[in-house]
């Protein structure tokens, strides 16, 4: 199972919104085989997930966590759809 993790600074607010939106987008794109969760930056280690989704402001701070996907906006579904699709492809979930 591939794991996508939404990460924000506190793990309370925006990471949960991104978590929900990733699930929504995966469903729209009909991509299965992905678990989604959210966490705060301080509690995540490299290897915890296959891809880490973060807001652009913490992308640098998260760069050690592996495959980091930086979002310009936390609530832009169109942007998220493109980036989730690209990430799924990168991880061999789609052709």
């Amino acid at each position: 199972m591939t794991k996508f993790l939404a990460v924000c600074s506190t793990g309370l607010g925006s990471s949960f919104m991104v978590h929900m939106n990733i699930e929504k987008v995966l469903k729209e794109l009909e991509i299965s085989g992905v678990t989604v969760d959210h966490a705060d930056l301080g509690s995540v280690a490299n290897g915890d997930a296959d891809a880490i989704f973060v807001g652009r402001d913490i992308a640098d701070a998260a760069s050690h966590l592996g495959d980091v996907v930086a979002l310009d906006s936390i609530i832009d579904l169109a942007e998220l759809r493109d980036k989730v699709a690209a990430t799924a492809k990168r991880h061999g979930l789609t052709d």
């Binding site: 924000c8 600074s9 506190t10 793990g11 309370l12 607010g13 925006s14 949960f16 919104m17 929900m20 939106n21 807001g55 402001d57 913490i58 310009d72 906006s73 936390i74 609530i75 832009d76 579904l77």
Partner: protein
């Protein structure tokens, strides 16, 4: 439900603010008054932003102001403030904000339903535009109520 937290008392509108600090003070005032947060929580949000915490900028001129529960949340609450014209978060030109939401989360789970609803609402282009365009609490409540049914 969103409107459990966001109502006539917690939906605020302000014009010509001196800056982002004024916005944080104003948006947190109803939560301070109701006893949801302590003064320390307001200071924690101010410190966090001044320390470069512009990650609370969600995009579209919307900021989700918050700090950790242990910094002074007494009970979960939410408030919102429309500012016209926009203010610059931490005085940074790349972070103009016209709508502040203040989140006080008492723990890491009790606010999740509310956050999910807010996320759905803010991620929908039409609903977000309508919310941002609100000029009074009645307009905003109408949008929030319509959003709850989505």
């Amino acid at each position: 439900m969103l409107t459990t937290h966001l109502n006539e008392e917690t939906l605020l509108f302000a014009e010509n603010l001196g800056g982002w600090r004024d916005a944080i003070e104003l948006v947190s005032a109803p939560l301070l008054d109701s006893g949801s947060i302590s003064r320390g929580y307001v200071d924690a949000m101010l410190e966090s932003i001044a320390d470069g915490g512009t990650y609370i900028d969600l995009g579209y001129g919307i900021a989700l102001a918050h700090a950790r529960p242990e910094r002074g949340v007494i009970e979960t609450g939410l408030s919102a403030l429309w500012v016209r014209p926009e203010v610059l978060l931490n005085d940074e030109p790349e972070h103009p904000i016209s709508f502040f939401v203040c989140l006080a989360a008492a723990d890491s789970t009790s606010h999740l339903e509310t956050m999910a609803e807010l996320g759905v609402l803010l991620s929908d282009d039409e609903t977000r535009d309508a919310l941002l365009a609100a000029t009074n609490a009645a307009d905003a409540l109408a949008v929030l109520t319509s959003g709850e049914s989505k």
